[in-house]
């Protein structure tokens, strides 16, 4: 056996990172994503007013940010019509979008790859049937399904504090996880179909290894690059979807500092009063979405080159 079991992975990871960061666009995207991740984790410490619903300020104050002088001022992004500090709310809003899109992606990738790998390895009628069902599911646009699902689940009455109510509070996260399972499963399945004809899988079968061992130890390592690419793509779509659902009023409920919701709350007639209360969260969404796309583009390129 290899004396340092992780050294090979570390070398591969380093190589991957160096290819990713060599390309200026993907390096910028990755840096920005990590910047927002930092905000998401340490938002409560970084925001000048850690309570997003602190209404103690004067309403409708103009932004005091001075980019030329590198000064933030008292209310860098101004205050909204209820007297809440927009800068703090934008910082605090990073955590929910990362939590929902990130966890949703992780769940869908884990479940989807388990389902897809099993389908691809097992083959036969099981694979055929489930494959057709997946194709059919993918015919319905994700946003429509998400709207319908979120709309229904949120309108159900649950006892406050029960586990159903807990789930209903995280409905967007769950919907994202559920929606992307078939997509990931399809990718994992087609990769598994390719790998399962290789000699090392045949060797394991001849040794009499159980199915889960063959899938987990023999097939999975070879399909991880494809899954990494798919996961990063899913994450960028998930960010997009969370922002859109929040904007349509199907995400976080007021008064939470969700970016999409903030954009929706301050549009129309309110935009003339406090344009900054819309502009800054919209800008945050735009930058994050573009950054995530650049990063996932770079991850795809790096994985292709690494192979």
């Amino acid at each position: 056996m290899n004396p340092t079991p992780f050294s090979r992975q570390i070398v591969a990871l380093r190589r991957f990172a160096s290819i990713l960061l060599r390309h200026p666009q993907s390096a910028l995207g990755t840096a920005l994503v990590f910047f927002f991740l930092f905000l998401a984790v340490f938002g409560a410490q970084l925001a000048p007013y850690p309570n997003p619903n602190d209404q103690s300020h004067a309403p409708r104050l103009s932004p005091t940010i001075d980019i030329g002088a590198l000064q933030l001022g008292e209310h860098p992004f101004g205050t909204d019509r209820l007297g809440r500090d927009v800068y703090s709310r934008v910082i605090l809003g990073a955590s929910s979008i990362f939590r929902i899109a990130g966890l949703g992606t992780v769940i869908s990738v884990l479940v989807g790859s388990a389902v897809g790998l099993y389908m691809g390895y097992r083959g036969g009628w099981f694979d055929e049937l489930l494959g057709r069902v997946i194709d059919a599911l993918l015919a319905i646009p994700a946003l429509l399904l998400a709207l319908v699902l979120v709309g229904i689940i949120r309108n159900l009455d649950f006892e406050i504090g029960s586990w159903q109510a807990e789930l209903a509070d995280n409905v967007v996260l769950l919907v994202i996880a559920v929606l992307y399972v078939p997509v990931v499963a399809r990718v994992a399945r087609s990769s598994a179909l390719d790998i399962k004809t290789r000699e090392f899988v045949e060797a394991a079968e001849i040794r009499g290894e159980p199915t889960y061992y063959i899938i987990y130890r023999e097939i999975l390592p070879s399909v991880i690059p494809a899954l990494v690419v798919e996961a990063s793509l899913r994450f960028s779509y998930a960010i997009f979807l969370v922002a859109s659902l929040g904007f349509l009023g199907f995400g976080a409920r007021p008064p939470s500092p969700d970016w999409g919701l903030m954009v929706n709350e301050n549009r129309g007639g309110f935009y003339q009063l406090t344009p900054w209360a819309l502009d800054f969260p919209a800008l945050a969404i735009a930058i994050l979405v573009i950054a995530v796309n650049l990063m996932s583009d770079g991850i795809r390129r790096a994985v292709q080159k690494g192979n």
């Binding site: 015919a139 709207l147 709309g151 009455d157 999409g260 919209a282 735009a286 979405v289 573009i290």
Partner: protein, 326 residues
Amino acid sequence: MLKFLRRRFVFFLFTYLISSLMIFFLLRVLPGDPARVIAGGREATAEQVAEIRSELGLNAPLPEQYVNWLGNFLRGDWGKTIAFRGADNRELIVQRSVNSARLALVALLLSVPLSLVLGIIAGLRENKLPDVIISLLTLSVVSLPEFVTGLFLINIVALGWGRGPLAEALGWWFPSSSAVPANASFGEMLPALWLPAFAATLVLLAYISRLTRAGVIEELKRDYVRTAALKGIPYRSVVTRHVLRNALLPTVTVIAISITWLISGLVVIEYVFGFPGLGSLLIAAIERRDLLLVQSIVMVSVTVILFTNLFADLAYAALNPRIKLG
């Protein structure tokens, strides 16, 4: 060819069956009683709920309910809406679909020619300045959510430029989409269509032009291009007669995919612009808990998508004799 057609058709029917099953059971099987929701939630009395249950046929076994529902849908009997007093679901959906189709048509007419031109330019000048500029622009636009571009356009055109002759001229050219009556004729509606159509165009533009660019680049590397060039055929006619003809073939499929894509994109765009289309109707129906209307809208969208995909597959097979029809 016949075998291919048969396979495609069987898949079409199967997909239709699965999606209708899912749409039906999602709205019925989930915990919570639709009759109670319709009757007004917790305040409703048991009699009211029971009355609505029998009215909607909710007392029958689920499979029977499904068959009834699908049969009614296919016959065109989509029931009455609860959310919009007195209206018939079908009339409402047909009217809103026509509006959405107008918006989609304007968006496609704007975006397809423009994105093909941009994609071809970028593909022919791979990694040169025009390509870099076009790729950067499309890459950043493709990733922006529709509501960000939509609001940006609204705020620039409607509000951001303040008062004065320019703003007045713009207001005349781009009247607010929400002021349009839902039953306006195409001519009356057209001025209000430009802005939402432009928002949809930006999204489609990025998408179609990137695919066109990739097609042109791939085609330029083929052997026959080199042979034609060595034969002394001018570059211009190699490109127009050979490369573009082959590179643009997949565009049929791309347009079909963009229609699928438009259907979800339009939900957001119609909501942002307050445009009376199918997407804004869907959101209103979900918000007002009109389950039957929601089911019908989603079924209509799925029908449109499946027919578009079927048509695209057939057109692609007809245009490209090399495709494997097995």
